[in-house]
Symmetry: C2
Subunit: 321 residues, 2 copies
DNA sequence: CTGAAAGCGCTTACAG
DNA sequence: CTGAAAGCGCTTACAG
C-alpha cells in the first residue's frame, strides 16, 4: 500500500531536477537554449518519475489540438477504409493524430457525432459521408475547418469538397457493357442520393431505353424476372453491395453469369474480388482522395480557401461482364 | 471586415449578463442554486454570443474526459463493426463519447495508436484486437483502465478481457460437418494466433486424421487439389474471409459446393450472406461482447477488478454445408 | 542559459 | 443566491 500515486507533473520533475518548471517545459519540448547538463538531468528525472505530459493542459494553452476528426457513415462500408488510410498517412506526415467517429448511416446520429467531434476540440473535421447535407454541416463549417469526401445533397460554401466523378464512372461501366454487345442494360440502385442520381443520369444518356430498378422495391427480383423473360442482358449497379446481391440471387436462380446476365458494380471493394464470378467494378482513387482531403484540411487551417476537387475513376474488369 | 472574432469564453458571457463567471459556470452546468432570473439572463447571453465551452479546459480541471478510446485492428475486418456498435451504445448510455483508432493489422502501428489514445487522455481504452500481446498492453494497462476484446497472445493482469469461446465454436463447426456425414474434414488457417490455434486444437480433438492447410503456404490450392483427388470432403476455415476464398477458388475449378466440398467459416460476417453458396459460419455475440467490454471499462473506472469473460458462439447454417 | 510571472478557460471550495 | 480566490498543468513572453 503506497497510496494512490498522483500522476507526476512538470512541477515534480522541476523539483527532482532542481530547476524551474519553465526550464523543464523547454527541455521536454526540445527547445534549443537549454544546457546539455540541465537537459539530461531533466530528462532523467522525468523518466525516473514516469512523467507524461498532460494533453488537456497543452491543448488549452496552445489552442491547437493537432487532431483531425474523421466522421464515417458506416464502418460496414468497405469503400471508406482506403480513404481513411489516405487521410491517416497524410495526417501523420503533418504531425496530426486522427480520431474516427461513426454514424451508422443514421443522419441523426451522424449529426451528433459531428457535434461531439467539434466539442472534442479537433482542429479540423473530414466528413466521409453522403448522408448529411449542407444544413447539417453548415453550422460547424463556420466554426471549424471542414472538408467533405463523397457526395452529399449539398456542401456548405465554407467547406472543402472532394468526390469522384460519378458521371464518368457510370459512363465507363455502361460503355464497357455496350462494347461487350449488350444493348438492353438495366440500372439498379438503392437510394436517391446524389451519387446514385448522377450515375443514373449518365446511364440514361447512354442507353436507348432506361430500365431502372430499386432494390427497396423488390428490384432485384423484378430484374431477374425480366432477365428470364428475355429482357435486360446486363445490369449496372449503383454500388458493389447491390451488385453482389444481384449476383447472389442470379446464382440462386440458375442464371448464368456473365452469359445470361452481365453485372458491373461501383467502388471496387474487397467484395468484388471475393464473390464469383468476380465483379467488374468502377474504382475510385480512394487513397488519393483521402490524402487530398487531409491536404485541404491543412490548407484551410493555414487560412486557405475551400476547394472543390473531382477525382477520376477507372474500370476494373472481372468475370461478371 | 470585423476582424478575427476571438471565441467567446465564460468571462465574456459573465460580462454580458452582468454576473460573475462562477455563476455562469454554475448556470451552464445546470446546477441547482441559481435564481431563475440569472439563469435565463446567462443562457440568453451565452446563446447570443455563440458561446461553446472549451473541452480542454473542462477536462483539465475536472480530470475526466468522459472519453473511451477504441483501438481497432483493421477497419476492413467486418467482424468488428457490431462490437463497436455494442460499445457505442453502452458508452452513450453511460454518458461517454467513443473515439476510434485504427491500426491496420500492423503491430507497430497498433502500438503507436494505443499510445496516442492514452496521450489524448481517454478515461479508458478498449482494444479490439488479437494482434497485440501483453508486452504491448501492459505498460498502458497500469496507467489507464483497459479491456481487451478478442484473443491476443496474452492479456496483462490489470486489463479486463472478453472473448468468444473458440473451442466451442470449432466444435460446433466440426460436429455439424460430421453430422452431415463428412469424415474427412480439413482445417484451413491463415495465422498461428491464439484464436486460430484454439480452433485448430478443438478440431484435432474431433477428427480421426488432421488435414491442415495454411493459406500463406498455397494452402487453398493444395486443399482443392486434394479434394479433386478424393481427399477431404469438407473444410473448416479459421474465419469467413478464408472460407470465402476457398469457395471462390472452388467455384473457379468447377468443384460443386456443398456436394463435392462443404465449407464452414467463422465470424458470420456480412460476407457469409453475400457469397454463393451462402456460407455456414460460427457466430460470436458481437453486440453483447462490445457492451460487456464497455461495462467492464466502467467497472474498472469505478475501482473494480479486471474480469475474464467468455461468450458463447452459435452456428448459423447456410448453403455451403 | 535560467527563473518568476502571467495566463489559457474552466471548476471547486469557501465566504458572504 | 452570488462573488472572489485559488488552482488544474502547461506555455509564453520577459527579465536577468
Amino acid at each position: 500500500m503506497t497510496g494512490t500515486a498522483r500522476r507526476p507533473t512538470i512541477v515534480d520533475v522541476a523539483r527532482a531536477a532542481s530547476v524551474s518548471k519553465s526550464l523543464v517545459s523547454a527541455a521536454l519540448r526540445g527547445e534549443p537554449g537549454v544546457s546539455a547538463a540541465s537537459r539530461s538531468r531533466i530528462l532523467a528525472a522525468a523518466d525516473e518519475l514516469g512523467y507524461r505530459s498532460n494533453g488537456w493542459a497543452q491543448r488549452l494553452v496552445s489552442g491547437r489540438s493537432s487532431l483531425v476528426g474523421v466522421l464515417l457513415t458506416d464502418l460496414r462500408n468497405a469503400y471508406q477504409t482506403d480513404i481513411v488510410n489516405g487521410i491517416e498517412d497524410a495526417a501523420a506526415a503533418a504531425g496530426f493524430d486522427v480520431v474516427l467517429s461513426h454514424g451508422r448511416r443514421d443522419r441523426e446520429l451522424l449529426r451528433e457525432r459531428l457535434a461531439s467531434l467539434t466539442a472534442l476540440g479537433v482542429d479540423a473535421v473530414i466528413a466521409v459521408t453522403g448522408h448529411l447535407d449542407a444544413d447539417d454541416l453548415a453550422a460547424l463549417a463556420d466554426r471549424v475547418p471542414m472538408v467533405v469526401v463523397g457526395r452529399p445533397a449539398s456542401v456548405p460554401d465554407a467547406a472543402g469538397w472532394i468526390r469522384n466523378d460519378d458521371e464518368t464512372g457510370a459512363r465507363l461501366a455502361v460503355a464497357h457493357l455496350q462494347e461487350r454487345g449488350h444493348d438492353r442494360i438495366a440500372y439498379v440502385h438503392g437510394s436517391s442520393r446524389p451519387a446514385s442520381i448522377a450515375r443514373r443520369d449518365a446511364y440514361r444518356a447512354l442507353v436507348t431505353e432506361a430500365r431502372e430498378y430499386d432494390v427497396h422495391d423488390d428490384g432485384i427480383a423484378r430484374l431477374l424476372d425480366a432477365v428470364a423473360a428475355g429482357g435486360p442482358t446486363a445490369a449496372f449497379a449503383a454500388n458493389d453491395r447491390i451488385a453482389a446481391q444481384i449476383v447472389a440471387e442470379a446464382v440462386d436462380r440458375g442464371i448464368r453469369l456473365p452469359h445470361d446476365l452481365a453485372v458491373v458494380g461501383y467502388d471496387n471493394t474487397e467484395l468484388a474480388d471475393l464473390i464469383r464470378p468476380g465483379l467488374t467494378s468502377v474504382d475510385q482513387p480512394r487513397g488519393e482522395m483521402g490524402a487530398a482531403a487531409m491536404a485541404q484540411a491543412l490548407g484551410l487551417l493555414d487560412g486557405g480557401v475551400p476547394e472543390r476537387e473531382v477525382a477520376s475513376p477507372t474500370l476494373v474488369v472481372r468475370g461478371s461482364s
